[in-house]
């Protein structure tokens, strides 16, 4: 058997399909790596090894049966182990959202995104760590302790999908689901040297995704290579009657992964507002070099302007907390999870919420409550919604002259654990380059384009018009066909069982 857990996802799928390796062997191999690396990385909030092996055995039995009965359909992802960010409901598995207010909560149903992947045959090994209710850019806001960046254990993996990113970077799973409200897939992908997709808003059902900022939340996916994101993305995508905001649009065609990398005729825009004083020079240099690489493959690169970019931080940090303050009103100590005891009803609310929500969640609930409160609504919430329109129009105008936009994912590489926890504004400003895509609802695809002098990964993102994910995949894949950043594995993960 030549298969190893370092194999890219699509190779693993082929090996499973050809019977070169069993799902049980694949699943056990990843579980062994999780055992070895989890104490240092803390990527998971819950693990289900026995359940995963049982699921894997069922997958193997189903494949064996299909071999005897060739007319029996075989689910396309049969036996593939993955991890799921702990903000998505999976029936029978705890769903904490990284919060003590949902300690021990077990959802009675499964998110549509996860349901579709289970129907396609995946095996779920566990739920990954996240900033509490996906509010954060470092995974330090998890009530269950931070995740460590596999490239440097003293640094953050980014967030909020930091557990998924770290697990993928350390090859503890071949791919993991994340969510992206303001960059929560792309920024951790960038910080950990993996690829991450934030689909078009509405492309994947939000049913069973715990709501944070409902007009911004999307389910995404992380894997080392962009081509390996595709099978999970495409099986989750599509209209869901259970989500009134899911889009009823045709699925994009699968790119030809074997085609020669040729970007002739493609117009790439480089927004000048994404190269600003104060950002790490190595990040700007690596992104410019990557764009030059795309030009060498035939693309026509031109500078563009997205003039309202500087307002993305205040717009996002008014709209998302406002939506959050309403969405999180449901955690009242009555219907979901534990209650702080009190003799009067009002005190149950105050105590349960005050003691079980963490500092950042309380901060955002208060920020949103303030922005929506009488006397401040017009100055904050209404004005933010109008500037959101201007940000959206920036993109619409840009896509009249270019096909895709290339930009850095974050102004810096991974920062140190603890460095920004006491300065929320500094943490918010870290999101400047990822927020606009969420506000405009357009897809973004992040992938590694180099390392800084400390050996920390640098990411670039491509953004495209709504529903144009396949174009982003084609361009990023051409880059990865001709570079090898995405094949680098953190030293801590190299010597482990493989």
């Amino acid at each position: 058997m030549t298969w190893t857990p370092f194999a890219p996802l699509r190779e693993t799928l082929r090996a499973l399909q050809r019977g070169e390796v069993s799902s049980e062997d694949v699943t056990r191999a990843y579980l062994e790596r999780i055992d070895a690396l989890e104490p240092q990385i803390h990527a998971f909030l819950s693990l289900y090894p026995e359940q995963a092996i049982a699921q894997a055995r069922q997958a193997d039995a189903r494949r064996a049966r299909a071999r005897r009965h060739p007319d029996e359909p075989v689910p396309p992802l049969l036996g593939l182990p993955i991890a799921v960010k702990d903000v998505l409901a999976v029936e029978g598995m705890t769903l904490t959202c990284g919060s003590r207010i949902l300690e021990g909560f077990v959802p009675p149903y499964t998110a549509t995104s996860v349901r579709r992947l289970l129907d396609a045959g995946v095996v779920i090994v566990g739920k990954t760590n996240t900033d509490e209710f996906a509010m954060g850019s470092s995974t330090e806001n998890s009530a269950y302790g931070p995740t460590h960046n596999p490239w440097d254990l003293t640094r953050v993996p980014g967030g909020s999908s930091g557990g998924s990113a770290a697990a993928v970077a350390a090859r503890m799973v071949p791919a993991a689901l994340g969510t992206d409200t303001g960059g929560s897939v792309r920024q951790p992908a960038s910080f950990t040297g993996v690829s991450g997709l934030k689909p078009t808003y509405g492309r994947i059902s939000r049913y069973g995704l715990v709501a944070y900022g409902s007009s911004l939340d999307v389910v995404g996916v992380l894997a080392p290579q962009v081509a390996d994101l595709w099978p999970l993305f495409i099986h989750m995508a599509g209209f869901d009657p259970k989500d009134a905001t899911s889009r009823d649009a045709p699925l994009p065609p699968e790119p030809n992964w074997e085609a020669e990398p040729d970007l002739r005729g493609l117009r790439i825009g480089l927004p000048k507002e994404y190269f600003v004083p104060g950002m790490q020079a190595e990040v700007a240099d690596a992104v410019r070099a990557a764009v030059q690489h795309l030009a060498n493959l035939g693309a026509d690169v031109r500078e563009i302007s997205l003039p309202h970019t500087e307002y993305a931080v205040p717009v996002y940090y008014i709209i998302a907390p406002s939506e959050a303050s309403a969405n999180l009103a449901r955690y009242d100590g009555i219907r979901y999870g534990p209650r702080e005891p009190a003799s009067r009803m009002w005190d149950v609310y105050y105590r349960t919420r005050g003691r079980r929500f963490g500092p950042e969640v309380k901060r955002r609930i208060m920020l949103g409550t303030y922005a929506l409160s009488a006397g401040y609504y017009d100055a904050y919430y209404a004005q933010a919604q109008k500037v959101r329109t201007l940000i959206k129009q920036d993109f619409e105008r840009a896509f009249e002259t270019v096909d895709v936009i290339a930009a850095p994912v974050a102004p810096t590489t991974a920062f140190r654990l603890g460095e920004k926890v006491n300065d929320p504004l500094a943490m918010y400003l870290e999101d400047i380059f990822t927020l606009p895509a969420n506000l405009a609802g357009v897809p973004g695809l992040a992938f590694p384009v180099g390392f800084d002098h400390q050996g920390l990964p640098i990411g670039m993102q491509l953004m495209g018009p709504a529903l144009a994910e396949d174009l982003l995949f084609r361009v990023a894949h051409a880059y990865q066909q001709t570079t090898d950043w995405h094949t680098r594995i953190p030293p801590v993960a190299q010597g482990q069982p493989a």
Binding site: Y350, R353, V387
Partner: protein, 94 residues
Amino acid sequence: MLTREEVLHIARLARLELTEAEIEQYREQLSAVLEYFARLAQVDTSGIPPTASVLPPRSVLRPDEPRPGLTREQLLANAAETEDGQFKVPPVLE
């Protein structure tokens, strides 16, 4: 700068119990954040419609037909306290 009373007012609206240390911390942090947000006022938005959703508007109404849902047992399974198939809460009125 937010006042202590304003912080308490917001916390009350949001049903959040805060410690003394939290009141002071949020007063400082939220003030700094709101001060940064003041730049939004510089943007001329006259005649610009608000964006509540990026989706093209469409009707999501459907016929009001009953469908299977979660059972009472499933819905109550995560409750802190139940009695006779109901959520149980402490007295609301005294």
